[in-house]
């Protein structure tokens, strides 16, 4: 199987486009994910403009009609969750880091890996095409609830919705193949000496995320097929007039949709933990309990989904257990958060750009976790459900991992990916502007929600009781535009560093894990010789070593070992 890939590929197409090298594939996912992030940002801008200044011309675009607004909110959610968070956090970081961190030459199935990317590319093309078909793109919300999504006449969207379902199905297929690859690679290809409990936390989190994804997405694949059949060949799975059950979709969707939150969350937490450990010069606090809580959280993620249906009609005898599991699942994550704080405790911290984003992610995530307890409790949720309080809540949890987490990872691993250092000063400006404007957008949004403003309404000014919120909404929109503009610092830094950045050495951050033992960027097949691993990944400030770091592949000399 690996015979075909042992030679370095020749030629432009085999090296950069149809490459089987996991590092190239990771960069392909990263580029496509960043492209979609621009689209997601653009939809956010238009949504916010419409809320603050309803029915006026949005600068740079024009008039936003209500049906176009429905499309915007639908596509914003779809793009950000499935086409930004998934490809960047899972596919890009997972593909890049797993083989390097386990000391493997490549993935277990390099050609399957290439196929995963191109199926995802196809999904992207289909989703992009859905904007241009008659009737426009999907407009039934990113959750696609029927009956709204099941019949064309309800939203006026025809093929846009079908293509939306097709794009999701393709994306799921792509990530299923990716998950098979991740798990097989980690199970079968670890370097000698690299036992399970010597793996970096990020690898554990990627693998748990892959398992959660693979075991939860099935029912939604079935649901997507059923919804597509309802739309195309007249079945009535979700249509009450034909004996179907619209609530069924909500269960199929959220049986996947809620675990999906953790699929995205775990790799983000893994990145943050790794970065915090390196820049604190301390081992990750309570490494094993973290792994155990991750696995427990993985199991628990399958029994919380119905908290999304508290007001859709659920037997109160069922609402209570789901309330309880939802609140309990915050315990393993609280473990992880406490570990981050304990790792920082009394550490000699270096606030590099990567570290700022990691710590920022931690702070923002705690805030989002706390509002999650409000939503998880059924009596409170009945009041705040479908308001901007919920919107603010999930942006606090998702933005913290997807954007703060990815930025931490990118500033940290950019030297390894591209062989050049990023500009630290620009990175720090990027962090502070992002951090300030993010909070300026989403803290007021909680207030707007508590005052009763509903999600997904095109014009809040139509409602008497929402009119006093106009200044607050204008402030949020202004902050959102500034938040988007702050990302220019990243874009400029990224491209400037790519061509003019300082050449990176092997191990610029003096980190322990295996990816730092090879060149930056690593050669084809990663290592000149497969490393042997002697210890866990977080031996910082160890009394056994003279320096404050001790790479996983460095044997202790006889005198050092005797001195223990």
């Amino acid at each position: 199987m690996s015979n075909d890939t042992s030679r370095a590929p020749a030629g432009f197409w085999r090296s950069y486009v149809f490459s089987t090298d996991h590092k190239v594939i990771a960069k392909q996912y990263l580029s496509l994910g960043l492209f979609w992030a621009l689209m997601g940002g653009a939809t956010a801008y238009l949504i916010r403009w419409q809320i603050a200044h309803p029915d006026t011309e949005a600068p740079g675009w024009g008039f936003i009609a209500p049906d176009f607004y429905n499309m915007l909110v639908t596509m914003h959610g779809t793009i950000m969750v499935f086409f930004v968070a998934m490809p960047i956090l899972l596919a890009a970081f997972g593909n890049f880091l797993i083989p390097l961190m386990i000391g493997a030459k490549d993935m277990a199935f390099p050609r399957l890996n290439m196929l995963s990317f191109w199926v995802f590319f196809l999904a992207s093309v289909v989703l992009m095409a859905s904007f241009f078909v008659p009737g426009g793109a999907a407009a039934a919300g990113w959750t696609g609830y029927p009956p709204l999504s099941a019949k064309m006449e309800y939203t006026g969207v025809g093929w846009g919705m079908n293509l939306w379902l097709l794009a999701l199905a393709l994306e799921f297929a792509s990530f299923l193949l990716g998950g098979v690859n991740f798990l097989t690679t980690a199970m079968n290809m670890r370097a000698p000496g690299l036992t399970w409990f010597r793996l970096p936390v990020i690898v554990w989190m990627q693998l748990t995320a892959a398992v959660i994804f693979m075991l939860s997405v099935g029912p939604l694949i079935a649901g997507a097929v059923m919804l597509l059949m309802d739309r195309l060949i007249g079945t009535t799975f979700f249509l009450p007039e034909g004996g179907g059950e619209p609530l069924l979709w909500q269960h199929l969707f959220w049986f996947f949709g809620h675990p999906e939150v953790y699929v995205i969350l775990l790799p983000g937490l893994g990145i943050v933990l790794d970065v915090i450990s390196v820049f604190s010069r301390k081992p990750v606090f309570a490494y094993r309990p973290i792994i155990y809580s991750t696995i427990i959280a993985g199991f628990m993620s399958f029994i919380v989904w119905a908290h999304h249906q508290f007001i859709s009609g659920i037997d109160p005898r069922l609402a209570m257990p789901f309330s309880i599991t939802t609140i309990i699942i915050s315990v393993p994550f609280a473990f992880v958060i406490f570990s981050m704080i304990a790792t920082l405790w009394r550490a000699s911290i270096t606030f590099s750009a990567a570290m700022l984003f990691a710590v920022g992610s931690l702070g923002v995530f705690i805030f989002g976790g706390l509002t999650g307890i409000f939503n998880g409790s059924a009596p409170v949720d009945i009041y705040i459900h479908d308001t901007y309080f919920v919107v603010a809540h999930f942006h606090y949890t998702l933005f913290s991992v997807v954007f703060f987490g990815s930025f931490a990872g990118l500033y940290f691993w950019f030297p390894k990916m591209f062989g050049r250092m990023m500009n630290e000063a620009l990175g720090k400006i990027h962090f502070w502007l992002t951090f300030i404007f993010f909070n300026a957008v989403f803290i007021p949004m909680h207030l707007v929600g508590l005052r009763g403003m509903m999600r997904r309404i095109a014009n809040p000014m139509q409602y008497e009781f929402l009119k006093p919120l106009e200044p607050l909404n204008m402030f949020i929109t202004l902050s959102a535009i500034l938040l988007l503009l702050s990302q220019l610092f990243f874009v400029i830094n990224f491209f400037m560093s790519l061509v003019r950045g300082k050449a990176a050495e092997r191990n610029p951050w003096q980190a322990n894990t295996l990816e730092w033992t090879t060149t930056s960027p690593p050669p084809h097949e990663n290592f000149s010789t497969i490393p042997t691993v002697y210890r866990g990944p977080y031996e910082y400030s160890s009394p056994d070593a003279a320096a404050d770091w001790l790479p996983q592949d460095r044997p202790l000399t006889a005198s050092q070992a005797a001195g223990r």
């Binding site: 199987m1 690996s2 493997a104 030459k105 277990a108 199935f109 399957l112 299923l176 998950g179 098979v180 690859n181 798990l183 097989t184 690679t185 199970m187 079968n188 290809m189 670890r190 370097a191 000698p192 000496g193 690299l194 036992t195 399970w196 693979m214 075991l215 939860s216 997405v217 099935g218 029912p219 939604l220 694949i221 079935a222 649901g223 097929v225 059923m226 059949m229 309802d230 060949i233 007249g234 079945t235 009535t236 799975f237 034909g242 004996g243 179907g244 059950e245 069924l248 199929l252 049986f255 497969i530």
Partner: protein, 191 residues
């Protein structure tokens, strides 16, 4: 010593097999979700038994027989591959493909009869599930037929000998398709 034997592997299982098992694990929730939906919706409403009575039980029984037999032939192909007897592998794979095609043929006859009698996918909620479940399953049978055909051609040409383990991987998938039918058959035709 090549790199593959120098790595830490938890099991003596080759990557292809680990990967196949993970793939099968991810297939189960697809049908699991569909079957669970069927059970829940059926328990919540009446009139399903009457609709189910319009299905052709005898044809489905023949189909069950075809599929179960093909599970046996695919195991015999695997046994032959382990003995490196690729002529026998070709025979048994050919038989498996034939039985799979037979299953699809009978299914096509069933669909045609039902649709000409007015029981289209739009004829009610039972028929939605009937076409959804058997249709998705039939697509999986088709995929298995294609995979086994590719291997069969390889066995005829003598190129399969280098990848003999693939017979087992395709066989694992074929068993899954078979087992799913064992759930679908009683739920739709007998209940």
């Amino acid at each position: 010593m090549n790199a593959d034997t120098a790595t830490m592997s938890d099991t003596a299982v080759p990557p292809g097999k680990t990967g196949t098992w993970w793939f099968l694990a991810s297939e189960i929730p697809v049908f699991g979700g569909l079957i669970a939906s069927y059970i829940v919706v059926r328990l919540g409403s009446a009139g399903w038994g009457e609709a189910s009575g319009h299905l052709n039980f005898s044809l489905a029984l023949i189909n069950t027989f075809l599929l179960l037999t093909s599970s046996m032939t695919v195991v015999m192909a695997h046994a032959a591959a382990q003995e490196n007897d690729f002529r026998r592998v070709a025979n048994f794979l050919g038989l498996t493909v034939l039985l799979g095609l037979g299953f699809l043929g009978v299914k096509a006859v069933e669909y045609t009869t039902e649709i000409t009698h007015g029981f289209t996918p739009a004829a009610g909620i039972f028929w939605s599930f009937y076409y959804g479940m058997t249709g998705l399953h039939a697509l999986h049978v088709l995929a298995g037929v294609i995979a086994n055909t590719v291997l069969w051609i390889g066995a005829l040409r003598g190129t399969l000998a280098r990848h003999g383990h693939r017979v087992e991987l395709a066989g694992l998938y074929w068993h899954l398709v078979d087992i799913i039918w064992i759930f679908i058959f009683p739920l739709l035709y007998l209940a």
